[in-house]
Amino acid sequence: MTRLLETQGLTAHYGDFQALFGIDMTIDAGETVAIIGSNGAGKSTFLRALTGLRPTAGQSVQFDGQSIAGLPAYRIHKLGLAMVPEGRRLFPSLTVEENLLIGAAGGRKGPWSLKSIYDLFPDLVAKKHNPGTALSGGQQQMVAIGRALMSNPKLVLCDEISLGLAPKIIKDIYQAVPQIRANGTSVLVVEQDVGQALAVATRVYCFMEGRVSLTGTPASLTRSQIAQAYFGLTEEAH
């Protein structure tokens, strides 16, 4: 397995507030890793730091064999690290197809194209000339995922892609993950839904208050371990 991503002691601050206190994480090519944790645990901040939206200059962030700490967002994107941002953030003045096309602006070659995105999400074909925001929540999420994939990333980061969606829609969307991996793209999902995360991931990290509180394969973790790592419950609290 080749190492795709490695952070050592990654920290992040918002002004005086420290959001991350030294995150160590590794992701190998072909893995699907999930980050779980409650609100404010630092999950989204971690993704923003990886993608260059939070400053990381001088820290240790290795991606695909090179340091990406402190690089501007578009350069990291060009190296093959794409993100599906929380809340989807589609461009309302662009059509579905234009929203997808702008994802390809970096010009990386690979298996993903308009055609393969429409194969992955056939629902979008009939909507391709609609404004990106005139869709159902699930379809918008498909556009957001497609937009990230259009850059042919080596690793795609999905931030809370189940947020605000009906359970059936969530299932549909997560069905795409194995296909994404089959095309050679590794996946990192951030999830509040622990069940969903354990079902899709090969490895799980649990964040609590800006630190990794637990990590392992889904099979090796027990419910009570996860509850403790998730909520910070101690044995005495039972």
């Binding site: 993608t51 260059g52 939206l53 501007p72 967002a73 578009y74 994107h77 060009k78 794409a82 993100m83 941002p85 953030r89 589609l90 461009f91 309302p92 003045s93 662009l94 059509t95 234009e98 096309l101 702008i102 994802g103 602006a105 970096g106 937009r147 990230a148 850059s151």
Partner: protein, 323 residues
């Protein structure tokens, strides 16, 4: 096509055709007004491209109007360039000077950028006042020979002048439209919608913004060069006036509709209609203008065109991109 598109397109097309033959129906005073209107249309399109699409709110565009004017005078008087090459030369030089000024201004964000651009314009104004060969603080007139070279007789000269203004106005609209329909338009529209999201999907927002800054500086310089060719006289205070070249332009874009191509066109028409009616009211006119701008922002900050478009679904300049 639907009526919602046909009606606005017909209206803009009629306006375009009427303007293209204006010297045959308008008298001298009207023609002068139209030239001024076309100049303001170009300034408004450029400010809108900069602020409406890339979010760079500059209150220092008078820097480039003034630079264009002064550079044109210098090229005509000292280098002996004919009018058209002089105008183009002034535009290119303005864009070149915008490279270092942009490099400075781009260290600043948001409100600091706005103030920074204003300060840069003031520096240019003070600098212009120091150049003795261009008249220093009291300014200088364009030699008669330059104006004469535009044509035999007053009528021919005014015809030439009008068509220069017409080309500047029309190209400002056409260029923005073409830009938005290109690959660049995708990035620009994305940045307008959400800069953070644009960064997330790999748009090099800084580079796009810088290039738009340079492009608008050049075209604003061209417009400035023409404005002072028409005035035949330039002074530092007139050339670098924040009121004339930025405040009025912002007013036009805000009431017309920021972030649209049609907005600056409608805003220019409204601005000049208002001025024709109310300019004699003195200070009351300026207060009325301020009140209108505030009212537009309170009622619908998308401006007149933005409000019409969202309520009626109108659109004239369709910018769907074909890649």
């Amino acid at each position: 096509m639907q009526a919602k598109t046909i009606f606005p397109i017909a209206a803009f097309a009629t306006g375009f055709v009427a303007l293209s033959v204006a010297p045959f129906w308008a008298d001298r005073a009207d023609l002068r007004l139209l030239m001024e209107g076309l100049s303001y249309l170009a300034l408004a399109q450029m400010w809108n491209l900069l602020a409406g699409y890339t979010g760079l709110v500059s209150v220092g565009q008078q820097a480039f109007v003034g630079l264009g004017g002064y550079l044109f005078f210098a090229l005509a008087m000292f280098a002996g360039l004919p009018v058209i090459p002089g105008l183009i030369g002034a535009a290119v030089l303005t864009a070149l000077i915008a490279l270092p000024t942009g490099w400075i201004a781009f260290r600043l964000n948001g409100a600091y950028f706005a103030i920074g651009t204003w300060v840069i314009a003031e520096v240019f104004r003070l600098f212009a006042a120091q150049i003795g060969s261009l008249g220093g603080g009291s300014g200088i007139s364009l030699p008669v020979t330059v104006a004469r070279s535009l044509g035999e007789g007053r009528e021919a000269r005014e015809m030439t002048m009008y068509y220069i203004a017409f080309v500047i106005g029309a190209v400002s609209v056409g260029a923005v439209w073409a830009l938005l329909r290109s690959r660049w338009g995708l990035a620009l529209t994305a940045i307008r919608d959400s800069e953070i999201a644009a960064e997330t999907v790999g748009v090099d927002t800084r580079r796009v913004k810088f290039l738009i800054y340079i492009l608008t500086a050049g075209f604003t310089g061209l417009t400035g060069a023409f404005i002072f060719l028409q005035k035949l006289r330039i002074t530092p205070d007139a050339a670098f006036s924040v009121n004339d070249w930025t405040a009025f332009v912002i007013f036009i874009v805000v009431i017309g509709g920021v972030g649209t191509i049609e907005g600056p066109i409608i805003g220019t028409i409204l601005f000049f209609a208002l001025r024709q009616v109310a300019a004699d009211w003195g200070t009351w006119y300026l207060m009325l203008m301020g009140a209108i701008a505030i009212a537009v922002m309170l009622v619908d900050k998308r401006g007149l065109w933005g409000a019409l478009r969202s309520r009626l679904g109108l659109s004239a300049f369709v910018t769907e991109r074909r890649l």
